[in-house]
């Protein structure tokens, strides 16, 4: 009985985090991006510096009419946002923020998270195809091409750190982490972060939703709650990517007084990475499709293969 209560409690906490943390990231994006562009961003909703802006947005989205285009494939169209959103919720279950502070500690947690994150793209593809809209379809094709290009370096970068730690368990990787990994695994961290950004279609890799040419890519025909779910999926994706980067490459809960406030360290590092996600969006223009593919195949893949070799040498040298 106590076990069941504990499981339910863990699930509830993960669900709560899933609903709240993406909103925090969204608010940070609102405000940080505004200040980086010499604006102030939302100031009214909620009173203090517009903290409730996203809640207000949510209320607005819920009130809107649920529109499905006449030529669309109704079932697929309606299911797409859920398929896009759920994988990130499932992935969040396996990410630890402290020793024992995890929804469900899995033996092959890293593999699980990477596998599940790839599923989310199917939702975007479903949306792009079922909208019966040329812009959506083009966006869908771009999403697929982008995913094919960046999935490989993403998984290989994760494999590098797993190789270094000698385990696929996320908790185990953090336990094995050493500060000098910041140097040793730096290329893998870079590749992981960049490829993750590309998988989430975050700027500067947002060519699938490039508003100047494709309106809003696969999400063009969506409105109201379904659109909100897609956006929530994007921000949940940022949270999962940031948390994974923090746990895999930045040492998770390692830091001063880690016995008492370890989980705070994980959250702080996650927040920092999430801030960098927003920062990069403001600082760099969108990559063209050919630049995007070239970066993946000629930049990230060779780099991560080199990193794998370096990691292998390091592991062999250290174990001997």
């Amino acid at each position: 009985m106590a076990e069941l209560v504990e499981v339910l409690l863990r699930v509830a906490v993960v669900l709560l985090a899933f609903l709240v943390v993406p909103l925090l990231v969204g608010q940070v994006e609102h405000k940080a991006m505004a200040h980086m562009q010499s604006r102030v961003g939302p100031m009214y909703a909620g009173g203090f510096h517009g903290w409730a802006q996203l809640v207000a947005d949510g209320v607005k989205f819920v009130q809107k009419e649920d529109v499905v285009p006449a030529a669309a494939d109704r079932t697929v169209f309606k299911m797409a946002p859920a398929v896009a959103l759920l994988p990130y919720l499932v992935a969040m279950v396996a990410i630890p923020i402290g020793p024992g502070l995890v929804g469900q500690d899995l033996d092959i947690g890293l593999f699980f998270v990477v596998a599940v994150m790839g599923v989310g793209v199917v939702g975007t593809l479903m949306g792009g195809w079922s909208s019966a809209n040329k812009f959506s379809l083009l966006g869908g094709i771009r999403v697929a091409a982008q995913l094919m290009a960046y999935e490989l370096p993403f998984v290989l970068a994760a494999a590098s750190v797993a190789m270094a730690a000698g385990t696929l368990s996320l908790t185990g990787i953090v336990e094995a982490w050493n500060p000098w990994w910041l140097l040793w695994q730096a290329p893998a961290a870079l590749v992981f972060f960049v490829a993750g950004l590309a998988e989430l279609q975050r700027p500067p890799f947002d060519i699938p939703v490039a508003d100047a040419e494709l309106v809003f890519g696969p999400y063009t025909e969506y409105g109201g709650l379904r659109f909100a779910l897609f956006i929530l999926a994007e921000y949940a994706g940022i949270v999962v990517l940031s948390a994974l980067t923090a746990v895999l490459f930045l040492g998770g809960w390692h830091g001063p007084w880690e016995d008492q406030v370890g989980w705070l360290w994980t959250l702080a590092k996650t927040g920092l990475v999430a801030f960098v996600v927003v920062w990069v969006r403001v600082a760099y223009p969108r990559l063209r499709e050919d630049q995007l593919q070239r970066l993946a195949w000629q930049g990230l893949v060779p780099l991560v293969l080199f990193q794998l070799a370096v990691t292998a040498i390091g592991v062999v040298v250290m174990s001997s």
Partner: protein, 171 residues
């Protein structure tokens, strides 16, 4: 009946049902999406059969890469949105006959051959990453290396195939 058996039956029904829809649906993209369901259900069965690592590899490679490739190919070959009447050739009857024959032969073989044999899943069979990795790199290194050469060959082949027309068109 144990929980595992009930789960197996459910997942098996889902897998078989969606597999049938893959080969019978009139809308091409639906076929790919039903394939996702089939593959997911089979991955679930792998989990039940204590092959945890294989299950997640199945999700990562099949759902994450193969199905995305298939959808990509459908989009690039201009698959229409609505249902199409002429997806199937007019040879459903012979095809059903052949498939039925295959099922009859394979089915009777396995049922007759392994009737009454129980699968004990409580024991030490654990397909964790550690055991799978150890066996691959200790016992099965040669096939693994051969496989990597095969993958390289496939990679080179795919590149050559997709570059070929471009050059011909340019000249």
């Amino acid at each position: 009946m144990t929980v595992v058996e009930v789960l197996f039956l459910l997942l098996g029904l889902v897998a078989a049902g969606s597999a049938l829809l893959v080969v019978t649906t009139r809308t091409m993209v639906h076929a790919a999406l039903w394939l996702v369901v089939t593959l997911g259900a089979v991955a679930g069965i792998f989990l039940l059969l204590a092959a945890e690592f294989v299950a997640w590899v199945q999700i990562l490679i099949y759902v994450g890469a193969v199905v995305v490739l298939l959808l990509f190919a459908l989009m690039l070959t201009k698959a229409p949105t609505g249902p199409q009447p002429d997806l199937d050739a007019r040879r459903a009857l012979p095809a059903v006959a052949v498939a039925g024959l295959v099922l009859a032969v394979l089915g009777t073989t396995v049922v007759a051959g392994f009737h009454g044999v129980e699968l004990d899943l409580d024991g030490a069979v654990v397909g964790s990453a550690q055991t799978t990795g150890a066996t691959i790199f200790q016992q099965w290194v040669l096939p693994f290396e051969v496989l990597s050469v095969l993958l390289l060959a496939a990679l080179v082949g795919a590149i050559v195939l997709s570059r070929g027309t471009g050059r011909r068109g340019g000249e």
